[in-house]
């Protein structure tokens, strides 16, 4: 894949609205000449910050739902101070954007089909992949907390939905009650011996379950990981993921890979799951 040079630009808020009880969609119009021909590959993210003197010490990493030229869209959830400030931005407000950053989900061979699994705010990269690269055999699975948490308007096409709590399901919609990975495991459409590749993003337990399922079925699996980030472009080493590496010179059998630059997409079998997201708070 040809790398798209990341850019730094101001973006004006076109729309910033909830698309479910927990998720918001932010649509921006980028300014400046360098953003005229910008774009992204599904799986990439951007650092979004308030401009000038209002800026947080670090931007907030948001995965890209779509980016074509000056128009870029994100889905995000309010999880702290930074995203709470983003949620308050009105139409016309300016934000700083640095992106697209990181690597992307792979494109698949002609004889492969995608199993896309998105959990909550992990939806954008897999939804972007389906919109950009999807073919008739690809299938999308989204897991939400309940019917109100599901961004139904963003799930057009080949999506099946699961919910942890079977409530607030809108009339005319259907949802599996249980874990999204259980929905995938029980889907009879996936029971044949076809070559499939799991592309997934969401909470860590979901990613682990997806990786296990893929391993059981003999499918390749790519996970898009989430970490608190400092810089977003590989310089601060603040967002590392332990990945298996026999050749690592420290002799520890693993090394710390930056989530922002080497990731956020990793092959599931690369990730040292017992050390990722499971570190004790000392």
């Amino acid at each position: 894949m040809k790398r798209i040079n990341p850019l730094k630009a101001l973006g004006a808020v076109r729309e910033n609205r909830p698309v479910s009880s927990g998720l918001l969609r932010l649509d921006l119009e980028l300014e400046g000449s360098c953003s005229a021909e910008a774009g992204f590959a599904p799986g990439q993210f951007a650092m979004v910050n308030l401009p000038g003197s209002q800026a947080f010490v670090f931007g907030r990493p948001l995965s890209i739902l779509d980016w074509q030229g000056r128009r870029v869209s994100f889905l995000y959830r309010v999880v702290g101070r930074g995203t709470a400030e983003l949620a308050r931005l009105d139409q016309g407000s300016l934000v700083d954007v640095l992106g697209p950053l990181g690597g992307a989900f792979p494109r698949l061979a002609d004889d492969q089909a995608a199993v896309l699994i998105g959990g909550g705010v992990g939806l954008p990269p897999v939804a972007a992949w389906l919109a950009r690269h999807g073919r008739p055999g690809d299938r999308g699975y989204f897991g939400g907390r309940d019917g109100a948490d599901v961004p139904w308007s963003q799930l057009e096409g080949a999506w099946q939905v699961s919910v942890d709590r079977h409530e607030s399901i809108p009339a005319g919609r259907e949802a599996f009650h249980g874990l999204v990975t259980d929905m995938v495991a029980s889907d009879p459409e996936l029971a044949d011996a076809g070559r499939r590749v799991v592309l997934t993003c969401g909470p860590i337990p979901m990613l682990r379950a997806a990786a296990r399922l893929a391993q059981q079925r003999g499918w390749d699996c790519y996970v898009s990981l989430e970490e608190h980030m400092g810089c977003g472009y590989g310089v601060c080493k603040g967002c590392v993921i332990p990945v298996l590496d026999e050749k690592v010179p420290t002799g520890e059998g693993f090394r710390n890979a930056t989530c922002c630059e080497e990731g956020p997409v990793f092959r599931a079998e690369q990730v040292l799951w017992e050390r990722y997201g499971a570190l004790p708070t000392l």
């Binding site: 990341p6 730094k8 010490v57 472009y233 080493k237 710390n256 630059e261 570190l279």
Partner: protein, 305 residues
Amino acid sequence: MSLPAWWTTDVCAPFTLGPRRFPGRIWTASGCFAYGLSGHDMRTDGFATPYEGIGAVVTKTVTPAPRSGNPMPRLCELPTGAINSIGLENVGYEAFLAEVLPQLEDRGVPTVVSLAATRPEEFGTMCAALQEAAAGYRHWHGVEINLSCPNVAEGGHDFGRDPDTVALCVDAARSQLPDRALLAKLTPNVTDIAGLAAAAGEAGADAVSAINTVVGLDVDLNTGQPVLPRRYGGYSGPGVLPIALAKVDEIVRKTGVPVVGVGGIGSLEDALKFFALGAVAVQVGTAQMRDPFAAAQVAAELSRR
């Protein structure tokens, strides 16, 4: 803002530090721009590259052996800065010399290599290897020895707190660096930073960089425990600016050692405060992590004046 009345230095011209001519006075700080290669292809309106106008990239600190760094979480953001506990993750100086420094030279990036060690003589070993590997390099300007990384258990701190040890480290490096600038980066977590600067200067450092990060801690109220696994980290960002200014002032007033100011610089105004106190150059640190063009922006504004 017009040029301040006190400002007499020709800031756009190259300046001399020890045996080298540096192309500018706005540098990036160690640990905040990696090895200076990540982000090289970033673009924004008004700048050809993030290196435009920069006097030097001070690399992420390199150590005798590769280090995998500290466990996560490594960063803790505060309204006024950040506390980090990266743990000097780096590829080791042999890989750095073989794989990284040649790329910086090829790209024409003015470079100062940051080194850390656990024994003073290792600074000499690494400098000798640098001198051998990069003798003909035009863009490698010098070495900054990191005497003060507060989050390495082996005691970066102890190095930086004792004037005699500082002198040993500087002397070991100086003896192997005949024609490159040598800087010693000092910790602010001491009672007498001027005494350390004087020791570095007497041992042959061309300048000191002040300050490294301030020891800090934050508490996670959900657990009642420190946020960082090693409890303490290095506090940096806008909140340390007045601390850095005070330490730079102390060094300038009490010693004749040239000072490269670092700590909380995110704007031209911040940089000018260090120059007003007598700093010969400044480094942009935490701001460079948010914005790959932060140092280039300060340099551009300075050159417009």
